[in-house]
């Protein structure tokens, strides 16, 4: 995929506290990131087969528990757009790695939109 046109968006809700800044979708163009970070995310997207994932992944018994979190990760490439809701616990290590990379990329101070 061409790095120039890839935009990644992440939002989250739930968790131990409500953080409006983290719930608000934050996005970043891969082309805005340092090359190494952008390559890691591209690699992560391929590794996790992100485009082939269904709309909701993960989550266990929803009837019990408290403070669990869910994320919505969206990748836009030109007119193509794929959005996946990741509900904790996310068991696939490749997806967790991708999530971790995207979190770091979209939460830069003064970065993200």
């Amino acid at each position: 995929m061409s790095r120039d046109s890839v935009r990644i968006q992440l939002s989250q809700e739930g968790g131990l506290a409500a953080f409006p800044g983290l719930a608000r979708p934050r996005s970043v163009e891969l082309s805005e990131l340092p090359a190494e970070q952008a390559e890691a995310i591209e690699h992560g997207l391929r590794d996790a087969r992100f485009r082939e994932l269904p709309a909701v992944v993960g989550g266990g018994s929803a009837s019990k528990g408290a403070d669990q979190r869910r994320y919505t990760l969206t990748v836009e490439e030109g007119t193509r757009r794929h959005s996946v809701e990741l509900v904790e616990p996310v068991e696939d290590p490749r997806l967790r790695e991708l999530l971790s990379l995207v979190k770091r990329a979209t939460r830069r101070r003064g970065g993200g939109h």
Binding site: A17, F19, A66, R107, G110
Partner: protein, 376 residues
């Protein structure tokens, strides 16, 4: 169809007049005091159940366990290291009776569970999460850079934080106690984790979380910081904690995290579908009511205010959709049941009134405040 979860009904070994038990609780030796408080707790629940009449009797067909009252402490902690994975069960690194294992998060979790167990046992006469000595399991080093802690219905799970926004989640004793208290609330009541019932569930965890910390530090209501998660936010973050029970909405205001969205009054109630209907947002309202009750009563918050709230969450009138005003009324009745009409009942009523919920002798009323959207 909605059904109530099974409830705990303890046997009554002796029923002394409440004023006598209270006197022992205030003036007796530490051992007498613990036993008296335990008995006051059991006795008032017994009276509440009797008062509730047939409805509870009919719904408690699975009543279990007899004497939970006279047993000795059965603290059983196990801490597991997930080593950055999100897959259970991980490796057992410390269990009851063992000294520190050298892993900071594991040892903090161990100590935090201990302080919380001791609080429920020594102050409330409750033997662990289920009142019957349930072993406590905590899992540390969950995930990579994981910035959360949660209760999954069976166990407490703590992340290390990402170091940029959050430190490790075991750093704050009240957060550990918050998660354990979710287990207690879930075991006691049928509260839905949604909207006002969910915000009450969240508030109970903050109340007990803060009380465990206050008791360990020996702070009175006036001395307490009433913060939840102090020390958890990383240095760069503009904020002092996750929440403030005393001044909801003032805990953080940061470029990345945004501004603390908690209201402290019904007129600022936030209507939202996010966060399970605002469970971590509107919990600011009952949190502040508790803080104000404790401050009005003075002294150690866990002694009277804490006991009143604990009795309320165990009340058989708590339903899956119990809202703030239902709960306010139940806390006032708990105060009266425990201490008779007087200072405590008045303090609870006044505190709820301060957050916009009026509890009269016959009814509860909430003026029609406008609702606000999050972030407004």
């Amino acid at each position: 169809m909605l059904t109530r979860r099974r409830r705990h009904v303890h046997s009554i070994h002796c029923i002394l007049p409440p004023y006598l038990l209270r006197s022992i609780a205030e003036n007796g030796t530490p051992q007498q005091r613990v036993k008296a408080l335990r008995t006051v707790s059991t006795d008032s629940t017994f009276r509440a159940l009797r008062f509730a009449g047939g409805r509870v009797a009919a719904s408690s067909s699975s009543v279990r366990r007899l004497p939970a009252m006279m047993v000795e402490s059965q603290r059983q902690r196990s801490i597991y290291d997930l080593k950055g994975e999100e897959a259970f069960p991980g490796t057992l690194v410390r269990s009851e009776g063992q000294g520190p294992c050298g892993d900071l998060a594991a040892d903090e979790a161990f100590d935090g569970l201990g302080a919380t167990y001791d609080f429920f046992w020594e102050v409330m006469g409750r033997n662990s999460i289920d009142g019957d000595g349930m072993p406590l399991q905590a899992y540390v080093h969950y995930g990579r850079d994981y910035d959360n802690a949660f209760w999954d219905g069976r166990r407490m799970v703590f992340g290390d934080g990402d170091g940029e926004l959050f430190n490790r989640f075991t750093i704050a004793l009240d957060v550990i106690a918050h998660e354990l208290a979710h287990g207690v609330t879930e075991d006691e009541g049928p509260l839905w984790y949604f909207q006002q019932a969910g915000a009450l569930n969240e508030s109970m965890s903050d109340v007990f979380g803060s009380l465990v910390k206050q008791r360990l530090l020996g702070h009175t209501a006036d001395q307490a910081d009433w913060l939840i998660g102090a020390g958890l936010l990383a240095d760069e973050v503009e904020g002092q904690a996750l929440r403030s029970m005393k001044e909801p909405g003032t805990a953080f205001d940061d470029d990345v995290l945004g501004k603390d969205p908690q209201p402290g009054h019904m007129r600022d109630y936030v209507t939202t579908w996010e966060d399970n209907g605002g469970v971590h947002i509107n919990s600011g309202i009952p949190n502040r009511a508790f803080c104000m009750t404790a401050t009005r009563l003075g002294g150690s918050a866990w002694e009277r205010a804490g006991r009143i709230w604990y009795e309320a969450v165990r009340d058989p009138r708590i339903m899956p959709d119990t809202n703030f005003s239902d709960f306010a009324r139940i806390t006032v009745m708990s105060a009266t049941r425990l201490y008779g009409p007087g200072e405590e009942e008045a303090a609870v009523k006044e505190a709820w009134e301060e957050v916009g919920i009026r509890v009269s002798r016959d009814r509860v009323s909430v003026p029609q405040w406008g609702s606000v959207q999050p972030g407004a």
